[in-house]
Amino acid sequence: MTDIANAPKAATTKKPGLKERYALMTRGLDWETTYQPMEEVFPYATYEGIKIHDWDKWEDPFRLTMDAYWKYQAEKERKLYAIMDAFAQNNGHLGLTDARYLNSLKLFLTGVSPLEYMAHRGFAHVGRQLPGVGARVACQMQSLDELRHAQTQIHSMSNYNKLYDGFHSWRHMHDRVWYLSVPKSFFDDAITAGPFEYMIAIGFSFEYVLTNLLFVPFISGAAYNGDMGAMAFGFSAQSDESRHMTLGLEAIKFMLEQDPDNLPIVQHWIDKWFWRGYRVLTLVAMMLDYMLPKKVMSWKEAWEIYAEENGGALFQDLARYGIRPPLGWQQACDDKEHLSAQAWSTFYQYQGAAPFHTWMPSAEEMDWQSEKYPDSFDEYYRPRFEHWAEQEAAGNRFYNGTLPMLCQVCQIPMLFTEPGDPTRICYRESEHKGETYHTCSDGCKNIFDYEPEKYVQAWLPVQQIYQGNCFGPDADPTAADFNPLLEVIKWYRMNVGVDNSPYEGSRDQQNFQAWKQQTTSNAPAGGSPAGA
């Protein structure tokens, strides 16, 4: 090599780089056990078939000591709570574009915030079970982040609970309400998998591939619609997300580099968890296109940026490892034209069983849909929505009085259409031990067929209602005037006729209008808060 002695001297004695310093502080914290065999200390480390030969090849996705971690998070909390307090004290809710916006928060609080808590539990569990010390430290920090996210979301939205309907029993509802079984079963599926599958399911597929589709629309929606509280926790959480994303990426690289036998296992998990996550995002699609009074972007636009462009670049890079884009990717791209309209139609029909308000888009909003979805909205959805709007105006709002059939895997009602034919509902079925199981798509059917023993155990809300498991202790099915659906709604702890009413004429709508008017006129106080 070039003679170093004769080369001009560049730098004086170097101190260790950040990577080296971090390694000195975090490695060698574990030990080989002697009283117990290692495989009993880490009982879940091998059964999934993932082969790891050298945990020292794990590259720390971020370098943060616990000491620094507490300092960071403490300051984030101080800032966040100062903003939330200011927002609440200044009646920030009256700066919202419209009270319809609050329904996206109700959906988030009941559907997503409990998942943050589950993510906290999941990473704590996985951090205990992975035999590599680097991975364990990273999982521990993500576990704490997720707990913080759950808490700050709940706190920022709790301000609304004093004033508006539908915010009161989110935790109770999460475990019971029909559509909330969609996000709940998604996370239950992940947390009951092995530690490596969990890392691909949540660390990689959800936190990396899909999280932007959840968070960016939601946080931008908050910003566009005047919700400073939700916006502030969004920023606070996003500053943690970069760590989560890099952890997910390191996890998949590490598994793929450790042994060629890991490739087909990881590929199967990517196929499965892309589709599971995508199905959960149906709720986000609906929120973006139909629930935000001031729109940020359409679901189709969000999908094109965050999935097709960014996700496409990722899968191009992963192809070097032999990974191909997930099965179902193309169908998800094709369905961007239809997803939100099909979901909103369903919630509109089942308004009576949902603790948030629904409505038909205004004429102006339908024009927005036509502009964003020129190839589908006018042809397939506008006629239906105009008809429903007319009927509602004539005092004949449409309610679907029967219970929908649910997919055995994603637990979403059978509302999705056949690939390439948006006029025909898609049904798939599989047989297992003499029983027939129904799924909504090829994606969900593939997942079922691969692990039928797991999915036959699904707690499907509709089946549970028909089996009589969704009534309160005081319900009397033998009474002459027994109304099973009403009893279910009560068991959900919905405030009947208030939480689950159409937006038009709702207490939220009336109160918001009255309070808003007070801010600019001297009219007498009107409205009664949700608690009253």
């Binding site: 090599m1 070039t2 560049a10 260790p16 780089g17 370098r63 960071y72 500053s239 890079d317």
Partner: protein, 353 residues
Amino acid sequence: MTYELTIEPLGQTIEVEEGQTLLDASLRAGVYLPHACGHGLCGTCKVQVLDGEIDHGPISSFALMDFEREEGLCLACCATAETDVTIEADIDDEPDALNLPVRTVTATVSRLQQLTPTIKGVWALVDEPDGLPFQAGQYVNVELPDGAGHRPFSFAQAPSNPREVELDVRYLPGGVATTWIHQQLAVGDRLRLSGPYGRFHVRSSAQLPMLFLAGGSGLSSPRSMILDLIEHDCMLPITLVYGARNRDELYYVDEFTELAARVPSFTYVPALSHEPDDSDWAGARGFVHEAAAAHFAGDFRGHKAYLCGPPAMVDACITTLMQGRLFERDIYQELFISAADSSRVRSPLFKRI
């Protein structure tokens, strides 16, 4: 107005324009800093300011905390320099980098030789007696006539000869610089050169067998590196897989054949992708990545690989290496990040390749 930006632990100094972010300047100079959102929200690009003054730019107070500002941290994606600045970034130290200072020198064209129908060798004698010292694998910027900017070319000679610079230049139809070099440059012409630049060099401290994959005029850096290794009696196995379209485009074939015969640890695998089927060529046929896969039976574990050549060749080689279980930490390439590259959507899966 430009300032100097020194990046630790590399010890490399680059230029940063007023208003240009530290991240942008680093990426354009070929220094990868970790980054993600690019607009001050996520904190991935956090670096320590060791010396100098910066402006933080429009960043989120959640992504960079007050106490971090007090400790002198900043987000490279938004920070701009207000004086000369030294930062410490979360990047790997390179114990093998010589970090030679950049100099601007004048030189006289001493020899021109058509190496292949499309590649011309240019030799230029540097005025200064100690020449232009460089580390094998680095490049030099050649100033174009009439203020038309400059172009980078890799040093093709061994670093033991810093006085007579050799640049092997492929003719690109319509290219301003290569047209000038191929059609106008004459012996006796004066050149202004600045360098050495780049972080493409042999990782000799790893003490692992080396694999050089090169195509077209991408032979320059590997040639310089291999000559340097052999001059210093490197005992580790060295393999050069070099790809050209046909027999006419293959250059330095005699030199490498002689070297392979003389040095037992060196193996030379020339491969031709478009050689007529009926020719008497007895060597490998196909692309570089195919010849490499065949030579190593698809298993590259335990090597350090150095890639240099057209983007499509480099891309195919990275895929082949990874399928042969050699991963990012052991693959090196010269990265010229142009404005077009930074606007392309890239996933953060890989950092250097």
